[in-house]
């Protein structure tokens, strides 16, 4: 029994403290490839059941200077919820109650462990929806979404999670509990003081622990339609998106899938029978039924000169099937090469919309250079791209090459005038790029961090500092031929 676990048992119920070796290992990773390479089990896990639990653990950890890492579903792909410095993992997934649905004020109050899709299922009978919609809707928790400022497919119209969080209950590193967005308020807007809600959203558990969220909701749009555009030349897909924006249509989602993704979907859902083209774009429009029809027809007419095929549908079954395929393609690309699996690294760049075709070509070049197959999909309307790398984990050479691929993709994004993470967050995986990405602004972030967490116990190794890993990222060895000689063949 670790000393930390012994102490924690005095603060919360025995059943909430985990310290057996097998159990701890299951908290040693998230979906990032980085934590497959370097899993790190915490010293103890606390399954939080209440704000009081969190507050008690934070007070204790702050006094003892023990690192604390909050964790939701650990579906993140950036090693943002793994205790890379050891210490305590605060599992927030069991705090999963929807406390109130205030339909007249279009707000929901919930705990951070509520799974996104389950929230929207509960809101649906009220005719309401929480619009941010990550592809990971069926696993991600709203707490995790807030902590990474997740965007999702409909962010192009509805914006990121931060636009839909009105207030938060936050336990600060010293155990103090605060409420952001005005105490007890149900107002939908406010100009009162600094927007602490927006400071906490996206801070990836480095400033405090979110224990309750006040979310803004909207009415479910009465109609939806989807336009399917097939392009035999990548550049034309990029032009089509710009043409649609120029035509005065605001699609609720614009998603691109490259040829490899199309193949992956056809393997995972053979009934879909998508044709093989260089790029496929899904435009979704929503709103009132006549408006949706007008929008869909307008998109078809605008892109038909560029696409080899353009068609629209408002059949719910067709729309759902296409969205399901789109949301699962990330994990399904692993089926493309038998014996290979998806490695989540360099998976979340965002570039200016005008430079997407160029970026996609560059990603293909990186793929060819390192002989690592990459299937790319993403939110082309906002510039977000998710390159999906396939590797055989039994090959040390492929592991090394995919890390180089990830680094080159991150560098590419910055060169294109973009960012290394469009919506998944920095975590430990991208911390090394923050100086290049933010310049002196990173130092301002660090000062804010120190002001709130003077002892540096909250999720160390994420965003602000270089994480504690058994190897250095990005890899420093010269890039070129697969450098098998530099690798321990294991």
């Amino acid at each position: 029994v670790s000393a930390i676990a012994f102490d924690l048992r005095a603060l919360v119920d025995d059943s909430q403290v985990i310290d057996a070796p097998g159990e701890l290992h299951t908290y040693a990773y998230d979906a990032s490839f980085l934590t497959q390479l370097a899993p790190r089990a915490p010293d103890a896990v606390v399954i939080a059941r209440s704000t009081d639990d969190v507050s008690a653990v934070m007070r204790y950890a702050n006094e003892r200077r023990i690192p604390v890492t909050p964790r939701g579903a650990a579906s993140g792909q950036a090693a943002g919820s793994v205790a890379l410095e050891g210490g305590i993992v605060l599992a927030m997934n069991a705090m999963n109650r929807i406390l109130e649905i205030d339909a007249p004020n279009m707000q929901a109050f919930c705990e951070p462990g509520v799974v996104h899709a389950q929230l929207n299922e509960k809101l649906a009978p009220h005719g309401l929806i929480f619009p941010p919609d990550p592809g990971s809707s069926r696993m991600a928790t709203v707490g995790g979404m807030a902590s990474t400022n997740a965007h999702g497919m409909r962010a192009v119209k509805y914006g990121p999670t931060s636009a839909w969080v009105l207030g938060l209950e936050v336990v600060l590193p010293d155990g103090q509990v605060i409420e952001t967005g005005s105490v007890g308020s149900r107002a939908k807007q406010s100009s009162a003081g600094l927007e602490l809600t927006k400071l906490i959203v996206g801070s990836e558990g480095t400033l405090g622990v979110v224990t309750r969220l006040r979310l803004k909701l909207m009415a479910i749009p009465p109609a939806r339609a989807i336009v399917l555009g097939l392009f035999d030349v990548l550049e034309r897909a990029g032009e089509a998106v710009q043409a649609v924006f120029g035509a005065g249509v605001s699609p609720s989602a614009i998603e691109i899938l490259d040829e490899r993704c199309i193949r992956a979907i056809n393997l995972y859902r053979p009934a879909m029978q998508l044709p093989s083209v260089e790029a496929l774009i899904l435009f979704e429009v929503d709103g009132n039924p006549p408006g949706v029809k007008w929008d869909a027809e307008r998109i078809v007419s605008v892109i038909s000169g560029l696409a080899v095929r353009a068609e629209w549908s408002d059949e719910p079954a067709r729309i759902n099937a296409l969205w399901e395929a789109r949301s699962l393609v990330g994990a399904a690309v692993g089926t493309l090469r038998p014996g290979s699996n998806r490695a989540y690294c360099g998976e979340d760049i965002c570039v200016p919309v005008s430079r997407i075709p160029e970026t996609l070509r560059a990603i293909q070049d990186i793929s060819a250079k390192h002989s690592i197959p990459i299937a790319t999909y993403g939110h082309i309307g906002g510039g977000g791209l998710h390159p999906g790398h396939l590797i055989d984990g039994r090959s040390a050479s492929e592991i090394e090459r995919v890390l180089r691929v990830a680094d080159e993709i991150h560098q590419l994004a910055l060169r294109m005038g973009g960012t290394t993470t469009g919506e998944h967050g920095v975590g430990a995986a991208r911390a090394a790029y923050m100086p290049a990405e933010h310049g002196p602004a990173l130092d301002v972030m660090r000062r804010l961090k120190r002001a709130l967490d003077p002892n540096g116990i909250m999720n160390p190794g994420v965003i602000f500092d270089v994480p504690n890993l058994p190897f250095e990222l990005p890899l420093n060895a010269p890039v070129g031929e697969p450098a098998t000689a530099a690798i321990d063949p294991g």
Binding site: P21, G22, E23, Y27, A73, S136, Y268, G330
Partner: protein, 423 residues
């Protein structure tokens, strides 16, 4: 920082030979977490080690030598119901059933069971389920117990509670005294089909087997009932005794090689296992093709009768819940056919329940090995069922049938789909 300037990235590889066969299956898990909310034990506990991602993670760490066999690891792995709900939703293609079979065999080999545990295991796996004649003997004894007044006495005296058998005893079916013994008999001369009679089904629930036999006849099949068939081996495989499971599998493969047409099963758990013979023998040069041929012929009852049953003209109005057996819904991905069959019965209104895909807690012998979780899941399922106030619950697996009957008591009757079709 403890970064190594010389960069040592190691390839992923198994160091534990007994887990090598399923290592690719473990590597396929990219830890996206989509499986979590589908897992009954995760939903009950919200504990990562009680979810599929955690179980695969522990198995992989064990295979790679990063974890040792510790009591917590064994407990969480054995708490898995092997309901395959996670496999059904996994976009990366992880398959939990064979992973658990392999892992449990390795854990059983490394464990040090007590004398009593060894005795129970020997009785159940080496003696009882290895020869159907012995099972018949035991079921006959239960029949005598139920009919002679002994049961009445045991229940009234509180003896069952004193010896800690009250829970298990409550799940005992009302045993049918007239067993179905496969003797190569045939019925009619329609399309050929071979009937897999099962062990519990052909003894304790023999009337369901006879109903199945009649339903097949009505659907135009000329069925045969191959002699020398036996238990499918699922109980053994899921309890870490893969060797005996394979021995039973070989007997079934041989017994059915003399028959033609689909091998029809009315028990979802057996069906899933029979379809997995191909996987379990894939590396066996002598048996792989015979096992593959066998598995390719296996069909659930609902699959073979859905398009062949003559329409019924009358029926009583009733509200029916069809409770998916996990080994039909998740393991065999069969959900449409049984519903279609039921919907065609005049007067029958099919209603769906909340958390329809969540296991009822039966899961083979899980209700005996893990009574606490089993009871929690049973209660959850019963609540979901009662919330829609049905007149009847229909299922397609003996385990679910007995678990739901025990849970629902006399509030709602529970029938096997073959019984409903045979009415």
């Amino acid at each position: 920082l403890n970064a190594d300037p010389n960069l040592t990235l190691r390839a992923f590889r198994p160091t534990n030979a007994s887990l090598e066969a399923e290592y690719n299956n473990m590597l396929a898990c990219i830890r996206c977490g989509l499986c979590l909310t589908s897992c009954p034990t995760y939903v009950l506990t919200m504990h990562e080690a009680e979810g599929p991602r955690g179980r695969v993670g522990m198995a992989r760490a064990l295979a790679e030598g990063h974890l040792e066999v510790t009591p917590d690891l064994v407990e969480h792995e054995l708490n898995c119901l092997v309901c395959d709900a996670c496999s059904a939703v996994c976009p990366a293609g992880v398959h939990m059933d064979p992973l658990q079979v392999e892992l449990r065999a390795a854990l059983a080999a490394s464990g040090r069971p007590s004398f009593v545990q060894r005795l129970v295991r020997w009785f159940v796996f080496a003696w009882l389920f290895m020869a159907i004649s012995r099972l018949r003997l035991v079921v006959r004894a239960i029949w005598v117990y139920e009919r002679s007044g002994l049961q009445w006495l045991a229940r009234r005296s509180g003896l069952l509670r004193i010896v800690g058998l009250a829970e298990i005893e409550a799940v005992l079916p009302r045993v049918d005294g007239h067993f179905l013994v496969p003797r190569d008999e045939r019925s009619g001369d329609g399309a050929p089909a071979a009937f897999f009679a099962g062990c519990i089904m052909s003894t304790a629930l023999a009337e369901i087997d006879r109903a199945t036999w009649r339903v097949l006849q009505r659907a135009g099949y000329g069925s045969c009932n191959p002699a020398r068939q036996g238990c499918c081996g699922a109980l053994h495989a899921h309890s870490g005794d893969l060797e005996r499971a394979k021995e039973l599998a070989k007997r079934n493969i041989v017994a059915f090689e003399r028959s033609e047409g689909a091998i029809v099963v009315n028990s979802a758990g057996c069906g899933a296992m029979l379809k997995d013979y191909a996987h379990h023998f894939r590396h066996d040069p002598e048996w792989s093709s015979r096992a593959a041929e066998f598995s390719a012929r296996v069909r659930d009852l609902s699959e073979v009768v859905v398009d062949r049953l003559p329409p019924l003209t009358e029926g009583t109005p009733r509200k029916v819940v069809y409770q998916d057996a996990c080994h039909l819904l998740h393991a065999q991905r069969i959900s449409r056919q049984p519903r279609e069959i039921l919907k065609r019965i005049p007067g029958l209104e099919l209603v769906e329940i909340a958390e329809a895909g969540l296991c009822c807690g039966s899961a083979g012998v899980y209700n005996v090995t893990n009574p606490t979780q089993s009871r929690q899941l049973q209660r959850r399922k019963v609540d979901s069922i009662l919330a829609v106030s049905p007149d009847l619950v229909v299922t397609a697996n003996p385990g679910c049938l007995l678990q739901l009957r025990a849970g629902l008591g006399d509030r709602v009757p529970v029938k096997h789909i073959a019984e409903v079709l045979d009415e």
